[in-house]
Every structure is written in structure tokens, then in C-alpha cells.
Amino acid sequence: MASSIRVRATSNGDTTEVQALIQHPMDSGFVKDAKGEIIPPHFIQQLTFEYDGKPVFLADWGGGVSKDPYVKFSFKGGKKGDDLKVSWSDNKGATDSTTAKIQ
């Protein structure tokens, strides 16, 4: 199965800029479907980026984050060709992770 995570990490030699796009419904639990029934909450709660065995960015999310969430940040260091590990877990216990090469 293709990963739900698309990540692009680009180093300029000094800092690494990371952009990630994740496929996830991010249902808040406040929206009704066409039949007027509440769509139960289903959203990513934690998203972690790890470089060199250490977390470089940790996100705690609620249902207020947009569907197919996007996030952007930068960290100092990070070498071209090195791995950046991305993983998430949602409120139903599902998880996914991927590893991207820094470009």
C-alpha cells in the first residue's frame, strides 16, 4: 500500500526545510453526513519527525486540522542523503510511517 505520507525535506547546507502532506480524513466529530448523522471523530493525534534518532518536530493535533493535513517547519543541520523518519498515530489507533531522504 502506498504510504499516506508525502514528505519533502530539502537541505540548504545549514538548515533543512520539511514539508509534509498526509492523506487522512481528519473528521472532527462535529460534521453530519448527507443523512444527517454525525460522522464520528477520526483524526491524527500525533505526528513525529525524527532525524538521527532524535525528534526534530512533534505535532499534537485535534479535529480542527484540515483534511489531508499539511505542515511545514525547518531544523538546523540535516545532511543531503540522510534519512528523515515521519510517523503518525490517530485516535482510532491506526499508524503509518515513512522515511524520506533529505535532498
Partner: protein, 164 residues
Amino acid sequence: MSIMSPEFFANRRLVLKGIGVAALVGFGVIPLDVPQALAAANDKYPEEAFKQKTEAEAIKALYGKTPEASDKVKMDAPEIAENGAVVPIAVTTTLADVTSISFLVSENPITLVASYRIPAGTLPAVGNRIKMAKTSNVIVLVEAGGKLYSATKEVKVTVGGCGG
């Protein structure tokens, strides 16, 4: 994989979920043990903060202190969002020793939208996309050097993001 790493907990959570609720009750000590371990790893999901319906309660649950407005917190948000389901908001700050950045929407049913932890070496700048139920103040909180700072901006929403 180190025992303190997030994937360890992710896997462990999965295993725990897999065991089932009945078993969880039976092994009462296990779910009790997990939050403590998570706190030790500074990896705990702020469950309570994500239940609060007002910004004051959410800020209290998340940080336990009151923010002061700071012009060193720069929020990049649209004046008018045509689609409340996807509102791009970014923040940067010149404050030193930033440890966390959070986003709140006053008028959303749950005010806290996202909270990011910024380890040393990560730049204090985050961009993301959030949902807004209707026109509301967007509040960005920056925790730096143990203090809490904020920036607030009203974003007008033409089509709400929580009404389907």
C-alpha cells in the same frame, strides 16, 4: 529502536488496542503505566486540552499559565478565508528558546487546533492548514524561555469548515 522512541509507544498503543477493552480492564495496571511512561518521554498527547470549549480553558489545560501579547510573534493568516475547511496559517517568531507553538480558534467547538513541540535546533516557525467553523479570532501561542506569548488575528470566513 530505543525504548523511549515514539514508534515504541505507537506500537505499544496498537498492541494495547488490539488486546481489547475487556483485557485492558483486566490488566488495569498496563493502561495506567502507559501515560506515565509517555509523560516521562515528553510524548504525551494533551487529551484534556483538546476537549476544552473555550480558549482560556484550553490554554490552562495545555500550559497552565496566562499568555501575554507579543509583537515578536508574527502570524501570517488571510484577512478573509473563502473556505473555512482549509485556512492556511503560519507563524514565525524572533523570541529565543521556543519550546512550543500552538494554534487556537476561539469560535471553533474545540478551540485548540494544533500544538507543536519545538526541540532545540528546530526553528520557531510552523505553517499548517486549519478548519474554522466561522469568522473568529485565531490565536497563536508561543512558549519561550518558560513564558507564554500570544498573537491574535481575526479571520473572516465566508463558508464555514465545520458544517459539512
